[in-house]
Point group: C2
Chain length 246, copies 2
DNA sequence: CCAAAAGTGTTGGCCCTACACCCATGG
DNA sequence: CCATGGGTGTAGGGCCAACACTTTTGG
């Protein structure tokens, strides 16, 4: 991905946007990061997916990284393009269009949006003020959202399971560097929405090779302290590389 | 998908296009359907993926169906959106842009394209003349292609395996209604690019439940005649439905 | 009767599932 | 000492991979 000059970045391309679905786990729930927008008429606070029109000279992946960075302050997060949405009905709601026209200072007709997906540690998000405050919201209790953001989120939730099947390493994006077996298991349980057998989970986890036990343990629990594990990325990549040569 | 009036169909949206990668198996090779385009300058025949700008009031899936129909005469083929391509470099080649401007009568700047994938029986394609003649070309020996069509095809080939893993029924889109075990096995071998054990393949095929033997056999072979099998879509959907309720 | 491809069974390994008890810690 | 969650082993079943011979047919 190349660095763009500030100049070329100033021209928006008002036909294509990028929206980012950032998923995270907060306690017991799968959450999505929403940013605030002020309603043009009522001034009421509403929420939307972090997203923006793309710039004239910007690649889609670049735009997604930029949005992520502007919204969360994060860089180097693995973003995956997962689907484009282009129904002419997307801009059927006049309030949504009006809001976007105010925000972009451009006449908006139809917009095709390219949706990206990323997994995050809920704690890591720093609130950037460029697009207003960001907020983690449980998937199960979303507010009314503009455009087809509801549908985009629903598709994203379906997509993470498929993605996780092919790239198991991404679960660790949900977790801190040191995590307990319980945390990892609970993460899987929340994503796949089913409970898992504790013993089988331990066996599987230990057989993987890239989830390695540390000597550290959780402190101050009212019961036996849990061991911390860490994700060994080098080992993971070694195993991954073998797969690709088939 | 709704029917559009002819009127609204006449206005093109010169910022987003849809390209279709139709894959088929011709004898021993994986092939892609390309359409002809005349080079504006030299008048030389060149090839490209079937594709077009979208119309103002057309959904992306609709556009993909339209293109498929205009190119091949086929309807009701399962098309899957698999990725969008939006590098500003896509329109770096001036010849490509010039050709598109002539074809569309519109000023072309940047274009984001949404790529679709479908599997076809090579025999079934009727040549439609709206976009020029269509031609099956082996993936292994593609000519020079405009824009980033080469990259799109490469991604499509990666994508079918993933798709096939999740939706086994799509192999039958490659095959005639009656097919031999050999044909089905060879289809898998070509797609996954590895050979398979004959006995294990038969066992697996027979255990599936939705590949059912018929009483008909291949005739006129200089050896024992092979049984024809058929795909039982009802049975497949029954099994599929069970999966989704988990 | 020969060449060429169709069709068929068995075995062993691996992985997944189901299932119950003891261990360490804090209060 | 008790309540709470952490951590462990084993047995059975299903699925996959490896492997060789007999059958049918046309020429």
């Amino acid at each position: 991905m190349e660095i763009q000059s500030e100049n070329s970045k100033e021209i928006l391309y008002p036909h294509v946007s990028v929206d980012c679905v950032l998923l995270g786990i907060d306690g017991e729930q799968l959450c999505v990061l929403l940013t605030e927008r002020k309603d043009a008429g009522t001034g009421k606070t509403e929420y939307k997916l972090p997203g923006s029109l793309i710039y004239e000279t910007e690649d889609l992946d670049e735009a997604a990284c930029r949005i992520l960075n502007e919204t969360t302050g994060l860089k180097r997060v693995l973003l995956k393009q997962f689907r484009s949405f282009g129904s002419p009905q997307r801009t059927a709601n006049k309030e949504d269009v009006l809001w976007l026209e105010n925000a972009s200072k451009l006449k908006i007709g139809r917009i095709v949006t390219v949706a990206y997906l990323a997994l995050c540690k809920v704690r890591k998000i720093k609130i950037s003020e460029k697009y207003g405050a960001a907020q983690w919201t449980p998937i199960a209790s979303l507010p009314r959202l503009p455009f087809d953001h509801q549908e985009i989120i629903a598709e994203a939730v379906k997509e993470i399971r498929i993605w996780l099947d092919r790239e198991p390493a991404i679960v660790f994006d949900f977790l801190p560097p040191l995590f307990t077996a319980f945390q990892l298991r609970r993460t899987y349980e929340i994503i796949y929405n089913k409970s898992m057998d504790v013993r089988n989970f331990h066996k599987k986890m230990n057989s993987l090779g890239y989830v390695v036990p540390t000597e550290e343990t959780e402190q101050g629990m009212p019961h036996r302290s849990a061991r911390y594990y860490r994700f060994d990325k080098k080992e993971y990549n070694k195993i991954r590389a073998k797969l690709n040569t088939i």
